[in-house]
Each structure stands twice: as C-alpha cells, then as structure tokens.
C-alpha cells in the first residue's frame, strides 16, 4: 500500500468504517420497505447484534470469524417474536411494535448489569476490518440486486404497489414479508457486530429512536428503486455533516426535515430509477 493511502485511511478510519456500516443499515431498511412494510427496528436489531457479539467476544472469548455470523442469531429471534403476530395485521402494527422494541431494549441495557448499564461495554477488541465491512456490503448489494431482478423482485414490487392485488395473483405475501424482516434483522445484526468491533465501545443510547429514524432517512433520500440507491443515500447523509462542519449540531434536525420533504415531494427518492427486468 502506498504511504499516502495508508495515511489517508488512518486519518479517516472512523469515517471509512461508518460509511460501510451505514450502507449495511440502509440495506437492512431497504429490504423491509421494498415489500411495502415499515419497520423501525433496524437500530434495535443492530443493538442486539452489537451487544450479543460483544458479549461473545468478551465473556466467551470466541474467535471473531465465529462471532460475526452468530451475531445475527439474537436479532433474528426478536424479529420472529415481533414479526409473526404483526405481519398478519396492517403495516402500522409492525411500525409500532418495532418502535416499542427499541425503547424497551434501551431500558434493558441501562438496567441490567450484564450489559454494563449506562456505561455500556468497553474494551471490545478491534477485530473488525474495513475489508470485512465492504466485502459484506458488496455481497449484500449483489444478492439484493439478483433477488430484485428475479421473479421474487417483481413480486415484491407488486406487493409494495398493491398488496391485495399481489395476493390475488398468487404472491405468497406473508412469506415474503417475513423473509424481508428476517433478512433485515440479519443485515442489521451483522452491522451491529462490525460497528462494535471497530469502535471498541458500545452504549445503550446508540440504538434508540434517533438512529432508527436516521436509518430511515438514508433510504428515503436514496429511494428504493435499486439496492444501490439506499447505500448512496446513506453515504450522502454520513458525509454531509463531515463536509459541512457547521451542520453537525443540527444533523438530526436535517435528517428529520429530509424525511418530511422526501415523503411529501419526492416519493421515489433522489435516485428514483427502476430496475431493468426482462419481460416474463
């Protein structure tokens, strides 16, 4: 590696990590929105992945290559417990239950000694590497792109536009919704594990309401036309406060305003292109 590149990466290490991790989180929101559901549990799933993986590393001393895949287990279990009852109902229930999950987990992290209370868990060995983050991100984009181009992608788009009509046409709506929620939990769990193992510290307030809404703003800015769009949305919103130092105080205000404007005036997002698909 040439020395200037080494220098650059060292200086901007945190930013490089954050871009990749936020990209994964944006994808985790994308898969749910792509089937017309709204889950606000991404931050909560991320927290579950972060805390469970940190405990596996710190208490059980497992190797990282085992911890990373296992970090998806706990988020998936919670996604099942919430998804099974709510996905049968109208979309509002999933949104409500996932907001509730985030709030209650914060209280649990704060009050249970195992999770370190308000101080969180620190001294997590920095075993995550940039290549792991970007490798996973590339894999996820590729996989979602392939799914999106296939018949399943067509079915997902149909569900998003008109769920009843899709069901009448024989789309197994319930199974796809559940699948999307589980995929979302896996992606967010992995992102949580990686972020815990690059920053060496996690705390209870990193996975609450604000990050949950911020993740939504990535996807609403980018749009859900293709899997790349939400990743770009995440990058823009992660870089913006870095470039405009003065904005970092009102970063969250800006995210909120972006959501409002995107929903009201840009329903397709900034990159509202649609995926090309051969006629069936």
């Amino acid at each position: 590696m040439p020395p200037w590149l080494d220098d650059f990466l060292w200086t901007y290490q945190n930013l490089v990590h954050a871009l990749g991790i936020n990209g994964l989180l944006a994808l985790s929101m994308y898969v749910v929105l792509a089937v017309g559901q709204l889950s606000l549990g991404q931050a909560a799933f991320m927290g579950l992945g972060a805390y469970s993986s940190a405990l596996m590393t710190l208490k059980l001393k497992l190797p990282f290559l085992l911890v990373l895949p296992l970090s998806a287990v706990v988020p998936v279990a919670f996604a099942l417990a919430i998804g099974v009852p709510t996905l049968r109902l109208s979309g509002v229930y999933l949104a409500i239950a996932t907001i509730g999950l985030g709030e209650v987990l914060r209280a649990v992290y704060l009050n249970v000694d195992l999770f370190g209370g308000a101080l969180g868990l620190s001294g997590i060995p920095e075993r995550g590497e940039a290549w792991m983050i970007y490798g996973l991100l590339a894999l996820a984009v590729l996989a979602l792109w392939l799914v999106g181009r296939s018949g399943i992608g067509r079915a997902m788009e149909a569900m998003r536009e008109d769920e009843t009509a899709a069901q009448v046409m024989g789309v197994p709506v319930g199974r796809y919704k559940m699948g999307a929620l589980l995929a979302s939990a896996v992606l967010a769990g992995l992102a949580g594990c990686l972020s815990a193992h690059v920053s060496s510290f996690i705390g209870p307030n990193e996975y609450g309401f604000e990050p949950a809404v911020t993740i939504l703003s990535y996807v609403l800015l980018g749009g859900i036309g293709t899997p790349l769009a939400p990743v770009l949305g995440a990058w823009v919103l992660t870089l913006l406060p870095e470039l405009l130092r003065g904005f970092s105080d009102i970063r969250l205000v800006l995210n909120g305003v972006i959501i409002v404007l995107a929903v009201l005036f840009l329903p397709g997002g900034l990159l509202g292109m649609r995926m090309k698909r051969r006629a069936a």
């Binding site: 409500i96 239950a97 309401f209 609403l220 800006l254 959501i259």
Partner: protein, 293 residues
Amino acid sequence: MLAQQLVNGVLLGATYALFALGFTLMFGVLRVINLTYGFYFSAGALVALWLARSLGWPVWAALPAAAVASGVLAVVLDWVLLTRLRRIQAPELSSLMVTLGGVLALYSALTSWLGPDIRRLPPEAISAEAFQVGDIRITAAQLLILAATAVLVGGLLLLMRGTRLGLAIRAMAEKPDAAQLMGINTGQAAALVSFISGCLAGAGGVLIGLNFNAIHPYMGEQMMLRGFVVIIVGGLGDIRGALLAGLALGVIEVLTAGFVSSSLKEAVAFLILVAVLWTRPSGLFGRAVMRRA
C-alpha cells in the same frame, strides 16, 4: 403498603389514560398514527414549566394554559405535515413516515435549544401539603392530577356523547365521505380533533412532570411506548378501551416496581404489547380484525 401502591398506580394510570385518549381519538377520527403526538406532551410540560418559573404561575393555572398551547401546536403541525397527504389520499405508512421525520426534527431542535437536562418545577408552584387517610398518603399534587384527569375525561365524554359536535366527530370516524355528504364540515372537525388531542397530550405532560417532578425535552418520546401499548390493548380508536387499559397499565407498572423489580418496570409495557399482539391483536375490547387493504 399495597393500598398505597394501588393509589399511586391508579394516579399514574389516570395520566396514561389521559395521554392515550388523545392519541386514540386522533387515530380513530383522522386515521393517522401521528408520531408528533409525543412532542405535544413534552411541549405541554415545558410551557407549564416556563409559566411556573418565569411568570410565577401556580400549577393549577399553568396547566390549562399549557394544554391550550399544545392544542394550537397540534393544529399547526397537523396542517403543515398532513394536509398534502390527505389531499392525495396517501397510504397510511406515508403519513406515519412524515410524522416520524417531523418529530425527529422537532425533538432535536428543542434539545439543541434547551439542552437535554432534567428540569424541575419550582417548589412554590404546588403546595407540598399531604393528606392522610388511614394508611394512605395523598399529596396535593396527586389530588390535582386526579381532579384534572377527571375533568378532562368527563368533558371529553360529554362532548363526544352529548353534543352535535361530538356526533359529527363520531360520524367522521365511522365514514369520512358519508359525513361530508351529510353536511359536516370535516376540515373544521379534523382541526378540532387535533386541538383536543393536543390539549390532552399537553395536560398529560404537565401532570406527569408534576408526578415525577422531572421535565425534559425527550419525555414525550419515552411516553409514546406507553401510548402505543394503551391504544393497542384498548383497541385502536376505542375511547373506553384506552381509559381502562391506561389505568390497568399504571397499576401494573407500579405493582411491578414495588413487588418485583424496578428495572422490570420499563419492560412490562412492552411485554404486554407483544402478548396482546400475539393473542388479541384487535385489542382486549376490539371487534374482530378488519383488514383494510
């Protein structure tokens, strides 16, 4: 000990019921899960705090003023965020997302303006007197909470059941188009519902601030979880259900904190929510689930 806990639980539950009442009314009539609702709760408490601190108002006078201020805020925000979506008849998730973005912007702006610290009401705003009835001790603040809740809930029920305006609002909840064809000014009625809901949330904020004597910008966000639990357990849009479920949640929380563990208290609401969603998703008093495509 048990009797005292029950009294405390009922008082807490009365405030939860008050908060959830406005939330469920808003959903029942306007058909929107409006996430800015929690913000009116914070706003009410902060306005009352300002009146008590800077102008030296007693709490019983600051309470109605703060409620009205929150109500006006609710009408304005509803107009800014939701008018356009209503006109194009956007799906319910769009309005949910818009209010979500709105509330994030509002909370962050408020926090960067006032700071996240917990503030307290000045001691002279409410008398510290307490009344002893047998083993039970009731403070003046608790009496005010009880009286305010009773007046507001009674007033709401009277309005909804006893006046033509209430009839119009109920007709709108049933079927907005038909109500409009019958000559009801639905725009005006919707604004009135927003105002009433905002008032209830603001009053709830003042009362919770009084109960725990802790006021901070994000208090509404923490209240929203309780609001969700109460309106889902009581059935979305069901006023009687919200009242009963609110009282029950307050009592259960206080009893859990008193007899099991106070760290479990925060999780109780959510456990109830998940249990109800698994077993009776239309709420304890709800009719069979209707699916609106």
